[in-house]
């Protein structure tokens, strides 16, 4: 919000003063969660001292740190394997989801015939398609079974948000274009499409989160490559500290993806 106004603020309105509190606030945004994280680590250690948990049940933070420092490269490599699946699934799922949203909005036939089927697929947990997909697809190849499940998860939020965005165009905006003789294609390109952007971007943000869920779920269920599979390996040998370290790595990448999309969203919709 603040950076957008810098570029577009009308001169006659009061110039936004550089508030002395702002930089402090910006730092606190990062300091507060960091302080809280330190408190959690301390609490974690205290719990182990008090209840004397066996390291297999709850390893101390120091052991997790050892995993991160000695096997960090391996964890990140595995995560990047997963990330490739996540991003392909996200890309194809979102693209198809957007196309489906456009078709459902503008074609009454598609809306009546396909939308109910899509909604019934939507309410079903996507993981139940996995056995079927493995029979059809096998494991591996491109797009592999993981990408397909990830696509399924990324698809729906984008479809629903595209429909909401495109059909939210006000009647007057349509009439504005039509009263000047604008074609339907012009209306779509110049009004409906830009109008729907904030909705679609919000859908993409959800789709990204769903894509992480989809890929990791399949990796845990059918381990071959990726960080989810490595978690299963660690579980087999009760390497609890490795599992916790892996979860931390996944969380960091998930957060990064989420904030990246949020940043893009803010850049593209500063007018919103």
């Amino acid at each position: 919000m603040t950076t957008d106004l810098d570029t577009a603020a009308p001169p006659s309105e009061e110039p936004v003063p550089v508030q002395p509190g702002r930089s402090v606030e910006r730092i606190r945004k990062f300091v507060d969660p960091a302080v809280f994280a330190v408190l959690i680590v301390i609490g974690w250690q205290v719990v182990i001292w008090i209840f004397d948990f066996h390291p297999v049940v709850l390893p101390p933070p120091s052991r997790v740190w050892t995993v991160l420092s000695t096997q960090g490269d391996f964890l990140v490599e595995s995560m990047l394997d997963s990330l490739r699946t996540i991003l392909w699934g996200f890309f194809y799922g979102s693209l198809l989801g957007w196309l489906a949203g456009v078709a459902i909005t503008y074609s009454p036939t598609v809306r009546k015939a396909i939308h109910p089927i899509l909604v019934s697929l939507f309410v079903v947990p996507k993981a139940i398609f996995l056995p079927l997909l493995i029979i059809w697809w096998g494991v591996g190849g491109f797009p592999d079974h993981k990408i397909v499940v990830t696509m399924l998860l990324a698809f729906f939020p984008v479809t629903e948000n595209t429909i909401a965005g495109l059909s939210g165009v006000e009647r007057e905006m349509v009439e504005l274009s039509r009263s000047l003789g604008g074609s339907s294609l012009f209306l779509f390109r110049k009004i409906a499409l830009p109008f729907s952007i904030p909705f679609v971007l919000a859908g993409l943000r959800i789709a990204m989160t769903e894509s992480f869920i989809g890929t990791l779920f399949v990796e845990i269920l059918v381990p071959n490559e990726g960080i989810g599979s490595r978690i299963v390996d660690a579980q087999d040998v009760s390497n609890t500290q490795f599992i916790i370290a892996a979860i931390l790595v996944i969380a960091i990448f998930g957060l990064a993806a989420y904030f990246l999309l949020q940043w893009i969203e803010r850049r593209l919709t500063k007018w919103y």
Partner: protein
């Protein structure tokens, strides 16, 4: 641009509802005339504007613009809606330029892009919002947004301006000022204006003639000729002649004694 409405009726039919919006509406508006249409909510005033603009066809009857029967949007009309209806992802300047893009997409733009850009700047200056040229709509107040939408309706220099309760959402002070500004712009760019409102003093202040419409189905109950001199000044609002026209319009609507209101259903 001259307008002739020839025995127009409009019926809206949906699956479970049939609404007769207009019944047998006939009227003539002269070239460069400023007319207002006044009447209760839901009487088909807005429908009438949409028929004139060619956005919807009449169920019966015909609309003629300069003697040519309307069978679709013609492009030489400016439309101002009750809400500013600005495209919020565009700057003020780009919003005002929108009609150029629509017309250029059909190779119908009456002038080149540069000339339109010059006009846009001139209009924004005339409307007193030139310092907001590069601002986004959300940074403007409601009154300023509506001024932008009026600039947008004027940029392609249409010969007909259709205004659907454009100042309905504004407070009384802003409304009066906008009335004066609209007349100033109208004087500078002579064009026919059809102005829908349900605010009687506004209709009287602006118009050459005021058409009064009935409740649904909308028919024209009569018209009041406003023979006050132009240019109209704020002072005129307090003159006896002005108030006479307001009273005359009130009577035509049926607001005379108030007794009629009690028997009417509040639809």
């Amino acid at each position: 641009m001259g307008i002739r409405l020839d025995a127009i009726s409009k019926v809206f039919e949906t699956e479970d509802l049939t609404v007769e919006a207009l019944r047998g509406v006939s009227a003539v508006v002269n070239d460069n005339e400023f007319v207002s249409i006044i009447g209760p909510s839901g009487c088909g005033k807005s429908t009438l504007l949409r028929l004139i603009s060619g956005l919807t066809p009449p169920t019966q009857g015909s609309v003629f613009l300069d003697g040519v029967e309307v069978d679709g949007p013609m492009g030489n009309i400016g439309f101002v809606f009750q809400a500013p209806t600005l495209l919020k992802w565009r700057t003020v300047f780009k919003n005002v330029m929108f009609p150029y893009e629509v017309l250029a997409s059909q190779r119908k733009a009456p002038a080149g892009k540069q000339e339109f850009e010059e006009r846009a700047r001139k209009l924004l200056k005339m409307a007193g919002i030139e310092e907001f040229t590069d601002a986004y709509p959300k940074q403007l107040s409601g009154g300023m947004q509506q001024r932008v939408s009026i600039c947008r309706a004027l940029i392609h220099d249409p010969t007909l301006l259709l205004m659907d309760e454009p100042f309905g959402a504004l407070d009384e002070f802003t409304r009066e000022r906008m009335n004066e500004e609209l007349l100033r712009i109208w004087h500078e760019t002579t064009k026919t204006v059809v102005f829908v409102t349900h605010h009687i003093p506004e209709a009287v202040f602006l118009s050459d003639r005021v058409f009064v419409m009935s409740r649904r189905p909308g028919t024209i109950l009569g018209e009041v000729t406003i023979d006050l001199p132009r240019p109209r000044t704020p002072k005129m609002r307090e003159s006896v002649e002005f108030l006479d026209r307001v009273v005359e319009t009130r009577h035509l609507i049926g607001l005379g004694s108030g007794a009629e209101l009690l028997s009417e259903d509040p639809a």
